[in-house]
């Protein structure tokens, strides 16, 4: 008897982090992904390494997860992040009124938040709106979503995981723990046998679970983003207000990513952006950094977020937390699903899921991903 075999469906941040965690603990891992790495939600990401401050007031549990994972990622992928902190900027009296609640919530969630004088903020970020009234510095950062996934996958591969991209799941026989796949490059179909199947398909998690006769509810909430061809700031700039549309500017390389918005979509695979969304993004981002109006538009993108459905809520109030489901509860024993979350917390999500997987498989090994340095994303994953 060799090590148990786990199939992970999805090579976005969730699947990549799970593959890494499990590969370190012993199971043989095979990742199957119908497209390229990060071709789903993770790729179309605003790339913000959250400090959690954005969620501190409305969703403190998410906020705590964020700051913890933020600090851990700095240790395990030190060269995979732009680490220049972030600012929450107040432009109106209303924003100033939000400040005490914001600071208090950050303190409660363990997020280091420091108010700095407006003048100082302008010295640090000359392109900020000169009318700004206050600024609070928090440890935001920026990652590269594609390379984030490649790092986790390269490390998993070095520890024995097999990564199969352009390999589509066409059926799951959960009672026999068999996943039927089509290799899109050759057109050939085949069957992979496993001891357990992990559904990490993001917003497609519902579809994948259904293949196995299981049920998972994911709210397909899409968000649009605009990238302009100029680096307008070094810090992530946020509006000091309850989370709203277009209120974040994320610098990345020599560009700035403005976002984001939110609307429900029916077809996850082909998302069209409603016309006024881009105007809304520019309207708000332009208040934070007026120069965005003069910067050339480099790209426009939208993707569906895999939001966890909490009964009775909807839209932005839906928690950005995550959950692990063991489908033994709905008659599809052999499948476990990871739903919700964000790239910032991928490692932590993977830890919880891998704990569940290892418990089910009788693998008695502790998680090591908090301390294990990741390989360079260039190291390769054999795919």
């Amino acid at each position: 008897m060799g090590a148990p075999h786990v199939i992970v469906i999805g090579a976005g941040s969730t699947g990549a982090a799970i593959a890494h965690d499990l590969a370190l603990r012993g199971p043989r891992v095979t990742v199957v992904e119908r497209g390229g790495v990060a071709s789903g939600t993770t790729g179309h990401n605003q790339a913000q390494l959250h400090s959690g401050a954005r969620y501190a007031v409305n969703d403190p549990e998410s906020a705590r997860e964020c700051i913890e994972e933020n600090m851990l990622l700095r240790k395990i992928m030190p060269e995979g992040l732009e680490l220049n902190d972030g600012l929450f900027v107040a432009l109106t009296e209303e924003h100033l009124a939000y400040r005490p609640a914001f600071l208090e919530a950050c303190a409660r969630c363990g997020i280091p938040a420091r108010e700095i004088p407006a003048a100082r903020a302008l010295e640090l970020e000359p392109r900020l709106n000169p009318r700004l009234l206050a600024a609070i510095q928090i440890p935001d950062g920026v990652f590269d979503p594609y390379r984030f996934c490649l790092s986790f996958l390269a490390t998993a591969h070095q520890n024995g995981a097999r990564i199969l991209t352009f390999t589509e799941v066409i059926g799951i026989d959960v009672s026999r723990r068999v996943v039927r796949v089509r290799d899109r490059r050759s057109g050939q179909t085949g069957a992979l046998e496993a001891d357990l199947i992990v559904n990490a398909a993001g917003p497609w998690a519902g579809k994948v679970a259904a293949l196995a006769g299981g049920r998972v509810e994911v709210e397909p909430s899409a968000g649009a983003m605009v990238t302009v061809g100029a680096r307008m700031c070094h810090r992530v700039i946020n509006l000091l207000a309850p989370p709203g549309d277009g209120d974040i500017i994320v610098p990345q390389r020599q560009t700035s990513i403005l976002g984001t918005t939110s609307w429900t979509v029916a077809d996850l695979d082909h998302i069209t952006i409603p016309p006024h969304h881009l105007e809304q993004i520019f309207a708000v981002a332009g208040q934070l950094i007026p120069d965005v109006h003069r910067a050339p538009v480099r790209g426009v993108m939208a993707a569906a977020r895999p939001l966890l459905v909490v009964p009775g809520s909807g839209g932005r109030a839906t928690t950005r937390g995550f959950a692990c489901y063991d489908h033994a509860r709905d008659g599809a024993d052999g499948l476990v699903s990871m739903v919700g979350g964000k790239t910032t917390t991928a490692r932590g999500m993977a830890e919880k899921l891998s704990d569940m997987v290892c418990a089910k498989l009788g693998v008695n090994v502790e998680c090591r991903t908090r301390t294990e340095r990741l390989l360079s994303y260039r190291a390769g994953m054999g795919a």
């Binding site: 060269e79 732009e82 640090l124 594609y146 390379r147 990345q252 190291a379 390769g380």
Partner: protein, 223 residues
């Protein structure tokens, strides 16, 4: 306003035509996704959709571009044919899919730090950092005629990376990196065509960096 045109894609079995209709501000990648709706077996790579991952590189009407930031209106018009082919000089995996790993491995060999100092207009504060310009998209490798005829050539991206290591070491062993590329298949194999700099979507200027590094090596020898 919509645009209707023919996407002519070079697949392993030959050219395949797809008639697609997209909004007039759509990108080539959007057109590919529309074509994929007709034929889900169409293979292409995409991730970030904003020119930072480097995975969507391809040849549009013979010229190396990133599909995610190339507007269809710029390269095709009503009724015309838009030709799409995979990048050259990298192993082809199918349709528009190529394997970037040889490029990643060469850049890994010169150990380019992924992070660099960011130029700043700030009047105060710590030195900001950001990701390196190079997004390892392979457009330069595809456009280089030398890479086309010599597979041992290090290629513009890796040599530009070496030049960056020499310029901003961040703790790397510059001498050993220079030894690696100071080679007939490295720095000296470049013929000064400058196509790499022409097609680079990320301001890397590989040709300029290669020539600059040559100058540095030659002047170093004189000492």
């Amino acid at each position: 306003m919509n645009l209707t045109f023919t996407l002519r894609i070079r697949r392993p079995q030959g050219w395949a035509d797809f008639t697609v209709t997209v909004p007039d501000d759509a990108y080539v990648l959007d057109a590919l996704e529309a074509a994929e709706r007709h034929d889900p077996t169409l293979l292409f790579r995409h991730a970030c959709h904003h020119a930072s991952c480097g995975s969507c590189g391809l040849r549009v009407n013979g010229r190396e571009r990133l599909g995610c930031v190339t507007r269809v209106a710029e390269v095709a018009s009503r009724g015309r044919v838009l030709k799409l082919e995979p990048l050259r000089n990298l192993p082809r995996l199918g349709d528009l899919l190529v394997d970037h790993q040889p490029l990643f491995s060469r850049i890994d060999a010169v150990d380019l730090p992924p992070i660099r100092a960011a130029a700043s207009e700030a009047v105060a504060g710590p030195q900001p950092t950001r990701f390196e310009n190079c997004i390892e998209c392979g457009l330069c490798v595809s456009a280089c005629p030398v890479a086309g005829s010599d597979s041992s050539y290090w290629g513009p991206a890796a040599l530009a990376a070496a030049a960056r290591v020499a310029a901003e070491p961040r703790g790397r062993d510059v001498a050993s990196v220079l030894k690696l590329v100071d080679d007939e298949h490295g720095l000296w194999r470049c013929h000064g065509v400058f196509e790499c700099t022409e097609v680079c979507p990320a301001d890397v200027d590989p040709a300029g960096l290669i020539m600059g590094l040559r100058q540095r090596l030659l002047e170093g020898e004189r000492q």
